[in-house]
């Protein structure tokens, strides 16, 4: 891929996911550009996780079309998986493995060579300042460290795009900010970041955000433009305004 700034890395058209009679994702269309930090916001139960699972090739759409990193999410989910990183809030690392063993395991899954894995492990631990923790069991690390480590593991294979599902849920103010600095540096080396969060100050750190409600995308723009559009001084207010408008 070349360095064309305006290239779309995610293209979604009229995507729908139904579970029985319930429509979790209702006809959403949007694009994410290469290198963007894209905030995927919405209330609990709005359909964010379902949409994200489809984009990661983990769930087959009912109808509509989506491509991620150039691959069709319905017909080539395995190729999608190979080109993305994913970090969920619930499951990230193996607690009973040492730090380096987690890198070794995930690197192996991503199909990296032993040499590559070792190089990346050394480099990433150095960047995090975790060199001393190489042989530490993951379960004995503080939660904030685990989170940073999980993020590094999610991007160790240098994916085109990384999906982060509420990476900072329950994380204290200081650690949240450190985590966002990691996101910024990933974005600066060209990795597209697709992130969900319930912290509205973090919505401001995104290049663009979308806000989902009842399975649909209600708004999509830069934080600045959304604040103007909804006549609000913060993203928090934009969120309330949107929630108020319908219902």
């Amino acid at each position: 891929m070349n360095s064309k700034e305006l290239e779309n890395i995610i293209v979604v058209k009229e995507l729908v996911k139904k579970f029985g009679s319930f429509t979790a994702v209702n006809n959403i269309s949007f694009e994410v550009k290469k290198g963007e930090i894209f905030g995927f916001l919405g209330a609990n139960g709005a359909g964010k996780t379902t949409a994200m699972k489809m984009l990661c090739g983990l769930l087959k759409p009912t109808s509509g079309k989506g491509t991620v990193a150039g691959y069709d999410i319905a017909t080539a989910p395995e190729m999608v998986k190979r080109n993305i990183g994913y970090m969920s809030q619930r499951f990230s690392l193996y607690d009973d493995l040492k730090v380096w063993e987690n890198f070794r395991l995930f690197g192996g899954i991503y199909g990296m060579s032993s040499k590559e894995i070792e190089m990346v492990t050394v480099k990433m631990l150095k960047e995090l300042g975790f060199e001393k923790e190489r042989n530490t069991m993951v379960k004995s690390l503080p939660a904030g460290w685990k989170q940073k480590l999980a993020f590094s593991v999610a991007i160790m294979h240098n994916p085109a795009i990384v999906f982060l599902d509420e990476p900072t849920g329950g994380v204290a103010p200081e650690a949240r900010r450190q985590f966002w600095e990691l996101i910024y540096s990933a974005s600066q080396v060209g990795i597209t970041v697709f992130v969900t969060t319930h912290y509205m100050d973090e919505a401001e750190y995104c290049n663009r955000v979308s806000i989902m409600k009842d399975g649909e995308i209600e708004a999509i723009d830069t934080p600045q433009n959304l604040k103007i559009q909804y006549n609000s001084s913060s993203m928090e207010e934009v969120f309330y305004e949107l929630a108020k408008n319908r219902n």
Partner: protein
């Protein structure tokens, strides 16, 4: 007897995990002495591993302290644990209801183990439960995050406790539902229930009567939100500009900038005040003006993109960051 009975009172509470003197030993709580009044809404905040959950588990009689004492509603958490458990409601951080039981079954189960009657106390949970009542036959594991949280709170309240312990009840909850949740807490407080709640959201800390900031097993500060804000001693400036990540790095390079953190659309930077240097508003204004000029100059030297600087009043989150980084 002490002078006045408190809802919670602890004296030099200590709790550690792992074998004594082993390398993996962690002191989760160190000499915690704390008093919480009846009817108070008391917030607990702090980074991971600060000891918040350990404190909750000791106060709810689920964990025995290594040393020190803890009294809840006048009862000793170790000796009187049976009596105490009838009087407390506890919502753990991890969803702890029975996923295989339906919504109604969970509520009945908790009512029956406390030998209480749902009908009698329904007024207490009505506001919360009415949203999930239509899903009474749904298994708890199939509820959305927000509904699980409402069910968990209903179950913690069904025996009409005098004191409620909520361990990070709003983690993973969207802004609108969070606001609703806190409105519910406010109504419970008005019923006279003492509420102890931990949170990582600083806007929620602001809604408490008092907040304790924990770090590494100790209390760094315990005060009212206003008290905490007014004890912020340094000068606080907000900076915003075109390339925020680059701007943040530049601000951190300026030697007298004590800290620089991103705060949504702005960066907040603190500059240490020399003691007694501004004893009135006028000198303070002059001082701040010259600080802004110096920082502007420094940023221009680094070829900073277009930016703007102004002085601001600290928020709770500024106080948190200040306190937690100073020790």
């Amino acid at each position: 007897m002490e002078n006045k009975l408190q809802a919670v009172s602890t004296n030099n509470l200590n709790k550690g995990y792992g074998a004594q003197k082993s390398a993996s030993r962690v002191e989760a709580l160190k000499n915690i002495s704390l008093e919480i009044g009846f009817g108070e809404m008391f917030g607990i905040t702090g980074p991971d591993g600060a000891g918040k959950t350990t404190l909750f588990r000791i106060l709810t009689s689920l964990l025995i302290p290594d040393s020190g004492e803890a009294n809840v509603l006048g009862m000793d958490v170790v000796k009187d644990f049976r009596k105490l458990r009838e009087k407390i409601g506890y919502m753990p951080g991890k969803f702890s209801l029975y996923g295989d039981l339906t919504v109604d079954e969970n509520l009945s189960f908790f009512a029956s183990i406390f030998k209480s009657n749902i009908k009698d106390n329904y007024y207490l949970i009505e506001d919360i439960f009415k949203d999930i009542a239509p899903f009474g036959n749904r298994k708890a594991r199939d509820l959305s995050g927000g509904m699980k949280q409402k069910l968990a709170l209903s179950c913690a309240l069904v025996h009409k406790p005098d004191i409620l312990f909520l361990d990070e009840p709003t983690t993973g909850v969207d802004p609108v539902s969070r606001r609703e949740f806190w409105q519910m807490l406010d109504r419970l407080k008005k019923q006279g229930i003492t509420i102890i709640v931990s949170t990582s959201y600083m806007d929620e800390a602001l809604l408490c009567d008092r907040i304790a900031l924990f770090k590494e097993g100790t209390i760094l500060s315990c005060d009212t939100p206003n008290g905490m804000i007014s004890s912020f001693e340094n000068t606080l400036l907000a900076v915003h500009g075109e390339n925020m990540p680059v701007l943040l790095k530049m601000l951190r390079k300026i030697p007298f900038v004590k800290s620089a953190y991103s705060f949504g659309a702005q960066h907040h930077i603190t500059i240490e005040n020399n003691s007694n240097s501004f004893n009135n508003d006028k000198t303070h204004k002059i001082m701040v003006q010259s600080l802004i000029e110096i920082i502007t100059e420094e940023l221009q030297k680094m070829d900073a993109p277009v930016f703007h600087i102004n002085e601001i009043i600290p928020m709770i989150e500024d106080c948190y960051l200040e306190l937690s980084s100073s020790k």
